[in-house]
Symmetry: C2
Subunit: 198 residues, 2 copies
Amino acid sequence: MFQSRLLGELVEALRCLPGVGSKGAQRMAFHLLERDPEGARRLSEKLIQAVERIAHCSLCRNLSENQVCDICASGHRDRSLVCVVETPADVAAIEHATGFNGLYFVLMGHLSPLDGIGPEELELERLEARLDEGAVSELILATNPTVEGEATAHYISEMARAREIRATRIAHGVPLGGELGYVDSGTLSHAMAGRTNL
Amino acid sequence: MFQSRLLGELVEALRCLPGVGSKGAQRMAFHLLERDPEGARRLSEKLIQAVERIAHCSLCRNLSENQVCDICASGHRDRSLVCVVETPADVAAIEHATGFNGLYFVLMGHLSPLDGIGPEELELERLEARLDEGAVSELILATNPTVEGEATAHYISEMARAREIRATRIAHGVPLGGELGYVDSGTLSHAMAGRTNL
């Protein structure tokens, strides 16, 4: 399709990005070549650096270029609190929005027997080992409010209960600024059932 | 925002892509690291190769990794026909859709005095030099049907007229498969004014 073989290869390579189709990849390639070769160079460099150096933290499984991530290595975090999330993006969101000062455990997914993802794939034995150490007093379950996320939270709460560690779940309900009329019925009935004393 | 400095740099670098914001860049970075490190490696390699080796064909200004692009170098193309387009994407589209077998001249833009883009920026002297050689018998103007595209077509047609070379404009009108009721009024009045004998 393209006169330049290399251009065709670049367009094809750009399609590995999620949400990028052939027209979008073509637009990206022309943009980089015509208007932003410096950006393309930097992107090329960062891609290869990231792929070669970023791995999982050996303690919390978050993405990190060090063997132990900055949060786990920090001396300023409350080591008795561990927040369990599904993805590194969730860690970023919680760090950005809340004052949470404990540690994390990143599942890199959720239990999903149909997809062959069980406790081994999520490396839950690492979480168990950490719970067994005795320093953790509360496990905050912040998995997504989906069927799989809820099942995963339930499974992990049982692990905590067996060790007499407190397990909590983040609150789910009507989002701030939301209007009741526009909130889906599942969320609304959840909010009603989970009402708290004023 | 990210615990990994390198991850933050990768997300920032991905934002040089057109149409990619911070959330999209984050999603791309996580996707590449988690699911497609091979794609990221290939993309990194192709980006640097493309930026370092793709330049403009010295004859038609199309993107090419050779000094003269494959179309200009081909012995099977009709050298008396030259089609003038705005971008390399237009060349790809015409090659893909039509049986056009002549050569191209890629303006890499259009005349736009307000943006400081005049005949020099489009390197129209190269086109003039080619017209002066005398081999070209028809210049097909396939710039976009925008104000700037029309002005550019008009300007170039004057160059052809001065050398007594035939200048033609691709047809504009109702697209095939389009319904008249859904076609914008500018296109429809253009189609009516440009009606041909049956």
